[in-house]
């Protein structure tokens, strides 16, 4: 579903990703872990081209993403993204946050879009917040709205960029629960996270990135319990 070949990214002289290869299959839950500055967020942001790729190739469903001939907006409608800072649109109500893109981009009629938004709000457990503004919601609620907003485009893939890192501890679970539900429904997900519990429980595969390199990958049990590389061991000993 997602194929990444020789992904290289630098910001000026700073090399953030130094050649990463990977293939993510349909319905797979891939968790990306690693120390801060390891390039894991950049890796994720390259997939939908929020960061320009310096070298290498990314394919989604066989279409090359970083090709001048590819309309990136078309690709992005198929790839939902959830951000660490939620990034809800503060000047719009929750319902409008969710319906905006389906109406503007998918040309969905307003009634259907409203209906879809209400279904999604129910799914993330916020049916009563349709008319609220983002500033009236807690962090966990905002992040769940952000997930609903991404899902409204009916994406094939969901990217999560540290979705619980900006949350108060007691709100982490409500967001993770929504993500688990999504995983059980068969969504293809790439999750950059510090929640090792989530990676262990839900991940089909875990990638460990360090200093721009994919150091180790494997099933959660294998990577967490029997890491091969010294750097993986050192990292896990600090976070587990």
């Amino acid at each position: 579903m997602i194929k990444i070949q020789g992904l290289y990214k630098s910001f000026g002289d700073l090399e953030v990703l130094k050649g990463i290869d990977n293939e993510i299959k349909q319905k797979e839950i891939v968790c990306v872990i690693g120390p801060s500055g390891s390039g894991k967020s950049t890796f994720l942001r390259c997939i939908n081209l929020l960061e320009e790729v310096t070298a290498g190739e990314i394919f989604i469903d066989g279409i090359k993403v970083n090709d001048e001939k590819t309309d990136i907006n078309d690709i992005r409608t198929e790839v939902g993204m959830v951000f660490q800072q939620f990034n809800l649109f503060p000047h719009m109500r929750v319902l409008e946050n969710i319906t905006l893109a389906p109406k503007k981009i998918r040309k969905m009629n307003p009634k259907d879009a409203d209906e879809l938004a209400r279904q999604l709000l129910e799914k993330v457990g916020l049916s009563d917040k349709a008319k609220a503004y983002p500033e009236q919601l807690s962090g966990g609620q905002q992040q769940r709205v952000a997930i609903a907003r991404a899902l409204a485009m009916k994406p094939k893939i969901m990217l999560f960029d540290e979705p619980t890192s900006a949350l108060d501890p007691e709100m982490v679970k409500e967001v993770l629960d929504v993500m688990k539900q999504l995983a059980l429904e068969g969504m293809t997900m790439v999750v950059v996270t510090h929640e090792m519990g989530f990676a262990r429980e839900m991940g089909d595969r875990v990638l460990f990135l360090d200093q721009g390199l994919l150091v180790e990958e494997g099933k959660p049990d294998q990577l967490f319990n029997h890491p091969k590389h010294e750097r993986t061991k050192a990292f896990l000993s600090k976070v587990l």
Binding site: N48, L50, N73, D74, R76, T77, V79, G80, M81, F83, Q85, N87, L88, F89, P90, H91, R93, L100, A101, K104, I105, K131, A132, Y133, P134, E135, Q136, A146, R149, A150, M153
Partner: protein
């Protein structure tokens, strides 16, 4: 010696020329409002050009702003009236048109900087979130960035309005019959000095006072909160459905 003139204010002189002053107010208001709206729209385009990724769009916009902010408005008015417009059209279009054009172009340069700063003050994540949903950058700018940025621009844009009202008096040099011009005509015709100039000063003061009241209203309407119930509802534009349901 204190001038006898000063002790002997004659308001009847002003009253007999009242039509000139009223027309002067009308012309000054027209200059200000047309200049402001035009200056805002062109300023918006220049601001968008200034943040463009394309160099050939960005650089001319930068020079435009540099020129109109870096030279005196009075000089710009004269250049446009005696050189630019006659060259383009072959003849003058009258002092009013020249004056308006100069005010629009000048205030556009100042507004462009305000609008650019407002746009750039919006968190990067907003644009990223919009783009990640598949919105083209133009749609994202219109529906996500600008509505948020305009709130932050209200105070400085209000200052510009008042500055423009006062600066509009400079068009008198090309004989636009604005409020200052009216004062000068009356001074010349009546051989009085204190009364006409004090009158127009007072009238300018009233106009700026009214404008600043309006600006205060708008600022309160666009307070920091987006939640309708927690902000004062003075104007009904904007979102209002379901306001009281929460």
């Amino acid at each position: 010696m204190i001038s006898i003139d000063f002790l002997d204010i004659r308001l009847d002189v002003i009253w007999s020329y009242r039509e000139l002053f009223v027309r002067g107010i009308g012309v000054t208001l027209a200059l200000t409002l047309i200049g402001y709206i035009g200056g805002f729209l062109i300023g918006l385009l220049v601001a968008l050009a200034k943040i463009s990724k394309k160099k050939w769009i960005r650089i001319p916009a930068k020079y435009y702003v540099d020129f109109f902010r870096g030279t005196p408005l009075l000089v710009q008015i004269l250049i446009i009236h005696v050189a630019v417009i006659p060259t383009i059209f072959g003849h003058s279009l009258g002092p009013f048109v020249s004056g308006i054009v100069a005010l629009i172009l000048n205030s556009a340069a100042y507004n462009a900087e305000i609008i650019r700063a407002g746009i750039q003050s919006i968190e990067k994540g907003q644009m990223e979130a919009a783009r990640s949903l598949g919105m083209p950058s133009g749609v994202a700018m219109r529906t996500i960035i600008l509505p948020q940025a305009f709130r932050r621009m209200v105070p400085p844009l209000g200052n510009e309005l008042i500055a423009l009202l006062k600066d509009s008096s400079l068009v008198m040099v090309i004989a636009v019959n604005d409020l200052l011009y009216a004062g000068k005509v009356v001074a010349g015709a009546s051989f009085r000095t204190w009364e006409p100039y004090l009158t127009i000063a007072f009238l300018y003061l009233i106009l700026t006072f009214i404008f600043s009241k309006i600006i205060t209203y708008v600022e309160k309407r666009f307070s920091n909160s987006y939640v309708p119930s927690s902000r004062r509802r003075i104007f009904s534009f904007g979102r209002s459905k379901g306001v009281d349901s929460e």
